[in-house]
Symmetry: C2
Subunit: 314 residues, 2 copies
């Protein structure tokens, strides 16, 4: 099956837009429960009713079926709230109720309020249950010899539980609570591509953020239809001659140095991990390769890569 670039965007940014499809949008959001924190009267994420139901009657949580809200009532500050969330999730992990919790990572993601303040931390594998915004870094490593642009493209280990064998960006990872995007990038560049810290700090260029509202499917593992609004900090790194990314752990099978045409062919064939395809699209747009001359859906694609999420973000 051949994927257009807009198909690739639709795969990642699947939640309807209120202004162009108000009925479908309202039908969607009234299906879900809003996640809230006591004293903060706004949605931090949307949860499947079947997920919210499991929180009924549990200490520190209040489920309101009329308003369709699940409110974290326990804890007066970020530390106490994080503890309350952890206690609940550890208990749920024990009962084995949620498949996603069987992939417990022991990493904390941050959830922010409208004032950009930390409201609480949540175990990474549990974040799609709550439907909260998660943050990551993605780096495109490329070479530009004699005007011939080539993109370093790793293939994920086929043994990886999520998106095994698919193509990825040179470096990509989640931002742990308390970590800055740049520190996260430096760490991941070492772990995933063996790129030296000095090189990353001096040559990686921040190029904006991508944001989209992903609805998880089978390939993500665990329960499907969970909401995963995401924000990715994007970096470009032109590698000097002689510098080659190398797998630093067992998550990457191999790095290819591919021409733009080879990358675009693989995109068309659906060989990329969905959100990594978006990072490639943004790279091609910013470097004048994907243009209004060769892409019919140019305007739609560029705006969809930068969705304004309706939840507070950092």
């Amino acid at each position: 099956m051949s994927h257009s670039n807009l198909d690739l965007v639709n795969q990642c940014d699947g939640f309807p837009y209120p202004e162009s499809n108000t009925e479908r949008y309202l039908a969607s959001i009234t299906t879900y429960y809003q996640l809230r924190v006591s004293g903060h009267d706004y949605a931090l994420g949307y949860m499947l009713p079947s997920v919210a139901e499991v929180f009924r009657g549990i200490p520190n949580w209040e489920l309101n079926d009329d308003e369709r809200t699940l409110t974290l009532t326990g804890g007066k500050n970020a530390e106490e709230r994080s503890k309350a969330v952890e206690t609940t999730l550890l208990a749920m992990k024990e009962t084995g109720h949620f498949k996603v919790l069987s992939k417990w990572r022991g990493e904390l993601y941050a959830v922010y309020g409208k004032g950009k303040e930390l409201l609480f931390n949540v175990e990474r594998s549990a974040s799609p249950l709550l439907g909260v915004v998660t943050y990551g870094v993605h780096l495109t490593a490329y070479t530009n010899k004699d005007g011939q642009l080539k993109i370093w493209t790793p293939r994920r280990a086929r043994t990886k539980q999520t998106y095994g064998g698919l193509l990825d960006n040179a470096v990509a990872g989640g931002i742990a609570s308390g970590e800055s995007p740049l520190e996260s990038l430096v760490r991941e560049c070492g772990e995933e591509a063996s790129l030296p810290e000095e090189l990353v700090r001096s040559k990686a260029v921040a190029c904006g953020t991508l944001s989209y509202w992903y609805i998880r499917d089978e390939r993500a593992g665990g329960e499907t239809n969970l909401m995963q609004p995401e924000c990715q900090y994007i970096y470009d790194l032109e590698l000097p001659e002689g510098t080659t990314p190398k797998p630093g752990d067992d998550e990457v099978e191999e790095f290819y140095l591919w021409s733009v045409e080879e990358v675009q062919e693989a995109m068309k064939n659906g060989e990329f991990k969905p959100n990594c395809a978006l990072v490639v699209l943004d790279f091609l747009v910013r470097h004048g390769i994907l243009t209004s001359e060769n892409e019919t859906d140019y305007i739609e694609i560029v705006s969809r890569l930068h969705r304004r999420l309706e939840f507070p973000t950092l």
Copy 2:
């Protein structure tokens, strides 16, 4: 008064977002009339009630107060519709009813349908009366000597009727109906900055689009509160040493070659034409100058620069 970068975005992207402020959004859109074309059951723009009222009883137009729509009923194809629109607008120009029509440009802007087909052309000065999406090109010309980035920044002639004396992007202009973004860019680069065609064609890099929903104020001239959703095709051009932009017409007073700090200071002081400030912000984001480390509202700014408009776009 000091303007934050988010203030600058808010100036241009003033229409409320449905998902984060549903009440204000609905209050806003129900205030306006939707512009439609017969057989195309969707909004092409929003019009002030006081503007829509003037179309009541005019041949080729149907005003529906219950549905709050103004429908262009005349014409079976783009050519016939364009003629019907022109006839109406010329008559309105004659009566002097609308101030914006006194700046009649004799340039046609295109209005597209959901299939990206041309629905009709409209005189440029009339487009904000109809509230339709308009398209432009903006180019940032810069130098990068020894890692010192400088931006060519023109000051608009103080005699210019709109935004006189404010700072601009090196080249900026509206895209006429039938003209491609690149052809429009080449033309404007010659007219406004005396940049040679070969240089522009070989060195200007397309870098995406900016889109926002502007509500016109006094500085735009003519009626206020008219809707002007816009989409700008963005280009970067690194000028080779010795090449200097020069005013090619009387629209520009002078070109400055400014450091990033000088440009940012002028932005803070509100010295830029509002939409040109957005182009600078996008440039600073893409070049790693404005980052999550130095801009609190980074995520919000990046997504707001790429608003998904609820009207069909090209």
